[in-house]
């Protein structure tokens, strides 16, 4: 980076500009575990500083990469072309929780779990609950349009973003959307920014919709002999006209990796498990939990466990929440995909995956949000065996092709980033890509914001 650019940033940020190698290393990674060194890290504390940073970036032509908690699974916050990592860690104020109009205004660095907790204290509910909610930020969630366990009932981050304030690639400060229950004035720029992975604007403030807190909840953990049976149960539950607030599926390989860390006693013959949750008024929850138990049994569940108190529910959830990080105990490198297929095709997809695993001779661990048809397909490899890596990459391409063929999407919630950039066109087509690029040019004509993401950039993909 140009020395003048660094000194201008120094004037702006003082000791909140860091250029030491040590700090740069600490902002070179995300949860993909790929690393790209930035040239500098800044910690803005308000929108004006963000704006000034982007103005300088236009002047000196350096990339600006917004970063929340760096927990992304597609490389979104990696500075693949160097430049400045703009960390939102210090923009972490909850500005208001409006209990009359049911919304919250927050800065982007607020941790999702903190917002949920603040809302809860006021009897309100911010539903999005990615498994990373304890550490990932609202800004990151918005930029990836994160989903979560409760998406099957409550939808994803997008469904709770009413309005945004964001710094565009030009350095202009745009306000979009509303703070009211509805609003249709002009194009929906809010939705345009949601899921844009920090490539169109840097969110500096968000107005988020809240709901009344459900009265109570119950959690069930049902063990099945195989994925096909769990998948059938999922469809049967939907057919029974119950909408659980979570329907998570874990296959045997996923359960096994958590077992190594925290043994959960499994019934004999377990090959798959479903974690189900229902929430709402007390009587309804009890009735629905009974119904779910029945449906699971009818579809071959070996055992169904149930918890209604917070601690017991937490125990059941632990199994699910621990899978993702525990995967590393299976193999050091994971190719981590999050495809979505129509719910009715889940069983077919699982059959395809187990065949693929045998055919390509790669280990595949599957779990995910079965209620949404969203499966986290993790291909586990050593990373040191070139042939295995090649087979794994071919397997990924096959999974994506099959997904699109089934009418699904190659990413339900983790975003494109660098890991899915090579497959963008496969899903959205050449015109789709072209229109997206035109939009990008309109928000960020000089390509300042998070370059190398979403659209294919060979250098970045290799890492």
């Amino acid at each position: 980076m140009h020395a003048d650019a660094l000194s201008a940033l120094g004037n702006l940020f003082g000791d909140r500009l860091r250029t030491s190698l040590e700090t740069r290393i600490c902002y070179s990674f995300d949860a993909t575990r790929k690393t790209f060194l930035p040239d500098a890290v800044v910690y803005p504390i308000n929108a004006e500083e963000v704006r000034q940073t982007v103005l300088l970036a236009n002047r000196y032509r350096f990339p600006v990469v917004p970063r929340g908690a760096g927990s992304g699974f597609s490389g979104g916050s990696l500075p693949v072309r160097g430049g400045v990592v703009l960390s939102t860690e210090r923009m972490d104020r909850i500005v208001t929780v409006d209990t009359e109009n049911l919304y919250a205004v927050v800065e982007p660095g607020v941790v999702t779990g903190t917002l949920k907790e603040e809302a809860r204290k006021k009897g309100l509910f911010y539903p999005p609950d990615p498994a990373s909610l304890k550490f990932s930020t609202v800004g990151g969630n918005i930029a990836e349009c994160s989903g979560g366990m409760s998406a099957v009932k409550y939808g994803v981050t997008r469904d709770y973003v009413l309005g945004l304030e964001a710094v565009l690639g030009t350095g202009e400060l745009l306000r979009t959307g509303v703070a009211t229950a509805k609003g249709v004035v002009g194009y929906d720029l809010t939705r345009m920014l949601v899921g844009s992975e920090g490539t169109l604007g840097i969110v500096t403030r968000a107005t988020l919709r809240l709901m009344p807190l459900p009265e109570t909840a119950a959690t069930l953990l049902a063990f099945f002999p195989e994925n096909r049976k769990s998948a059938d149960a999922v469809n049967a539950i939907v057919a029974a006209r119950v909408t659980p607030s979570a329907m998570e599926l874990m296959d045997r390989t996923a359960i096994d990796c958590v077992q190594a860390l925290m043994p959960v006693p499994l019934p004999e013959g377990t090959g798959s498990a479903l974690l189900l949750e229902v929430d709402g008024p007390e009587a309804q929850v009890a009735r629905e939990a009974d119904l779910l138990t029945e449906v699971c049994r009818a579809h071959g569940a070996i055992e169904v466990r149930r918890a209604s108190d917070a601690q017991g529910r937490d125990e059941l959830w632990k199994l699910r929440r621990s899978i993702s990080p525990a995967l590393l105990r299976v193999a050091p490198v994971k190719l981590n995909e999050d495809i979505v297929v129509p719910r009715s095709r889940l069983a077919d997809m699982f059959a395809f995956l187990s065949d693929l695993s045998a055919r390509r001779n790669v280990r595949i661990v599957n779990f995910g949000h079965a209620g949404d048809g969203n499966i986290h397909v993790n291909i586990m490899i050593s990373g040191t065996d070139a042939d295995e890596t090649r087979r794994a990459e071919e397997a990924v391409a096959e999974v994506f092709r099959k997904t699109v063929e089934m009418g699904g999407t190659i990413s339900g919630e983790h975003g494109v980033g660098i890991s899915k950039a090579p497959f963008l066109e496969m899903e959205v087509g050449p015109l789709g890509v072209a229109v997206m690029k035109r939009l990008k040019a309109c928000f960020d004509p000089n390509g300042i914001l998070n370059p190398g993401k979403i659209f294919l950039d060979e250098a970045a993909v290799r890492g």
């Binding site: 040590e22 600490c26 902002y27 949860a31 910690y43 960390s87 304890k134 550490f135 995967l327 105990r329």
Partner: protein, 422 residues
Amino acid sequence: MRDPDLKALTGLCAKCGTCRTVCTLYPERKAEIAVARGKVALIEAAMSGEDGDAAAVQEALTDCLLCGRCERACPNQVLVEEIVMKGRADLAEEVGIPAWKRVLFGKVMASPAATEIARKAAAAGQRLLPGKIPTASGLHYRFPDGLGGEGRTIPKLPAKGFIESLGKGEAATGEVMLFVGCVFDHVFPEVGRAAYETVKASGKSVAVFRDAACCGLPAMVSGDRRSATGCAEANVRRLRAAEPGAIVFPCGSCLLMFRRNVFSLIPKGTPAYDDAVSVADRAVDYASFLLSSGVLDRLPDPPPGEKVGEIGYHDPCHLSGTLGKGPEAREVLSRAVGPAFAEMAGADLCCGYGGTFNVRDYPTSARIGGNKVAVAARAGTKVISTACSGCVLQMRDMAARTDPSVRVVHIAELVHQALFRK
């Protein structure tokens, strides 16, 4: 970075970010370099030959309280404390250990006689300090400003240490061994004595471990592997030779050293390793020993005096967290002081001491500790009891600075009061 274990240990970090949610230091720093994930990344970079500045990496690794919260929260059970200590030790070989620490850990603290001489010298010098602060837990002096510890207070050092105060031949042999630790011997001998007399009240004969070197934790956390190993080996050899039944530790950090940390200093297959295993098997925390010894059954009825809910318990990170010994101290307290004990607000917040951290960055240490004491005091706690020497030192300083009416004691002092009340 040459430690062969580091690669495997760091390789388990998924970079998920859970550590950010529990780190004591993160709210102070709000920067990735403060948390486990950042430190792991630094070590990985150093191992892969990234040309960093070893001193700067050491600086980053030193910026950690070793409170262990990240390790306990980590979904992948990454052994962060071990990684950080190994990293510090490796880097210490590259950048060296400051001379004052080398002398302190290698020479002074490794020898009981030298420690005593040092304390006497310090006690004499201390009398020249101008600012005196009487606190509920004893006299404190204001530390002269300009020496890096702005606002720091230090407890008045005693003329005699606890062990020195024992009669010749007193507590030389016994069925139970008491490992007093440097601080409860030389700085707060009243704690050493309270622990000794209450353990003795169990009816068992008690030996006080006299030729104790420092437990080695201060050296270890400073990356001074050689001094730490020296202390550890000498201690386990002598402790085992004394053939005690239980070895009772009033200090949670000393206990951690013998229960866990020695095993990353002393290699498997050596005679010292066997000694370490035998010592670890017998090492117990003070509260657990009291509960098992039946001494509490001899307490008179729940005492009057202190008001309901005025006494709280502070969880030492190593003792309650790493070693999981939180309930035992609470049980002891409920029986010793009755309803005067109540769960304290912020009981499990770290006191911010962190051993050498407190020396290195006193202002931050004091902010964390000051907040800890303030949260408890605001909620009505008048007496903060605990069971670790670092925590007592730190919280007495914090009380002296912010609210001298808050008394900070070791649980042994309360048990002593209850047992021997006239």
